[in-house]
């Protein structure tokens, strides 16, 4: 994922895509999602699982997610964590499990 798209993602608020992520289970912090549209069953890694479960409560910006991960895993909210978060968000989006909330007056969520 290039830096340009990383910069773009910082402007968005992300939310769970309920169409693709309606059915899931969590054991010991690991989430498994069943996508009833694609038929895929996906196990999320520990970071993606934590992001997913955090976003179940409410949509979140990347900055909010970074702060949450830092707290959850007792990490520094530094550039490395921001990069890890960005990658995780990218993978969750590629799996259609999350989507952006359009800003007022902007394009539809993608």
């Amino acid at each position: 994922m290039n830096s340009a798209s990383t910069d773009t993602s910082q402007q968005h608020t992300w939310r769970i895509n309920r169409h693709h992520a309606a059915l899931w289970r969590s054991w010991d912090g690991e989430v498994v999602v069943y996508d009833d549209i694609s038929g895929d069953t996906m196990k999320l890694d520990i970071i993606m699982s934590e992001i997913f479960r955090f976003m179940l409560h409410c949509p979140a910006t990347p900055a909010e997610i970074v702060r949450h991960l830092a707290s959850a895993f007792d990490l520094k909210a530094d550039e490395q964590l921001r990069h890890i978060t960005s990658l995780a968000l990218h993978r969750l989006r590629e799996a259609a499990l999350i989507q952006t909330i359009p800003l007022a007056g902007s394009q539809d969520a993608r």
Binding site: I16, R18, A21, A22, L23, W24, R25, S26, W27, D28, E30, V31, V32, Y34, D36, G39, T41, K43, L56
Partner: protein, 316 residues
């Protein structure tokens, strides 16, 4: 026509030959019935040996699967003789050497269940039961699960299935299939040595799986094949020299994914399949298990107890 069901052992050899070479013999194994037709003597011998305790039906009784083992009509009837398996008049597999006719019957029956029994979620796994609780034993070929299963079901456990664990779509219970256990290569000699009184078919060499022999299911397992069991453990066994025989907890999320990969018809059931596997994982202790002797494995399984109250995970 009146349906008459009796044990196969009640029939004499002449009657069995007549029935198998004619309209067929319907053998009931767990929830399924298979009408079998064959004139191949090694298969008849195998059926007499392995299915003596199973109910069979006379007459034009309903059968889930209509199967036949036949020799081809051409040169391969005599020159390097072959056998074909037929299901509803169609041969779904390539011919095999005639010497492999009896294993082919078992593989064919497994194929019938695996491709048609969608009233269950079908997992490629052994399953055994004690005190109403089932242990499901998935694993790749060569992991040692059939060897382990064969030994345990002759030492306090009941055989539910050697190859196909049948999960009820309604309540997730495990239904018994309790057919003969397929042993391969070194496990044949190991089990023959450890279970000298157990009945086993002749060894069949040079199959795609190596040497194969079929172990007759314990009498009690067959008699109780109408009893279901609740899954309590999912255990991935592996024979490995030097193992300590301990059960090691494994990730439940990983276990669900692995079981899904080992389920023949997970994608057929879609959302229901996921919910059923989730329920299975919720209710079971999930473990990796390496063992280096059957006695060690027996000791580990002997102290298995079901877990306490199950905490169901949340869902969206």
């Amino acid at each position: 026509m009146v349906l008459i069901t009796m044990k196969l052992s009640a029939w004499n050899r002449a009657e069995l030959n007549e029935r198998l070479s004619g309209s067929g013999l319907t053998v009931h194994t767990g929830p399924f019935s298979a009408r079998i037709r064959t004139k191949i003597s090694s298969v008849v011998d195998g059926i007499v040996l392995l299915y003596a305790d199973y109910p069979v039906s006379d007459g034009d009784s309903f059968a889930d699967f209509h199967v036949a083992l036949q020799q081809p009509r051409g040169p391969r009837r005599w020159f390097r003789p072959q056998v074909t398996f037929h299901f509803d008049g169609v041969a779904p597999f390539k011919p095999l050497p005639l010497a492999q006719a009896l294993p082919l019957l078992e593989w064919g029956l497994n194929w019938c269940v695996g491709n048609h029994a969608h009233q269950f979620l079908l997992i490629h796994a052994a399953a055994i039961e004690r005190d109403g609780c089932a242990a499901i034993l998935p694993g790749p070929p060569g992991a040692g699960k059939s060897t382990l299963t064969a030994f345990l079901v002759h030492n306090g456990w009941r055989l539910l299935s050697d190859e196909l664990a049948l999960l009820s779509l309604a309540d997730g219970s495990v239904t018994a299939l309790a057919r003969p256990i397929s042993l391969k290569n070194q496990s044949i000699d190991i089990i023959a040595r450890r279970l000298p009184s157990a009945r086993m078919s002749p060894r069949c060499k040079d199959t795609a799986k190596g040497a194969v022999a079929l172990l007759r299911a314990p009498h009690e397992s067959v008699a109780r094949s109408g009893e279901t069991a609740q899954p309590a453990w999912v255990i991935f066994p592996k024979f490995r020299v030097g193992s300590d025989g301990r059960l090691r907890p494994r990730s439940k999320a990983d276990t669900l994914i692995e079981i899904g990969h080992n389920a023949f018809n997970y994608s057929v059931h879609g959302k229901l399949g996921f919910e059923l596997l989730s329920q299975l994982i919720d209710s079971c202790g999930c473990y990796d298990f390496s063992y280096d002797s059957l006695d060690q494995a027996f000791a580990t399984f002997d102290v298995l107890r079901p877990a306490g109250a199950v905490t169901r995970a949340a869902s969206a």
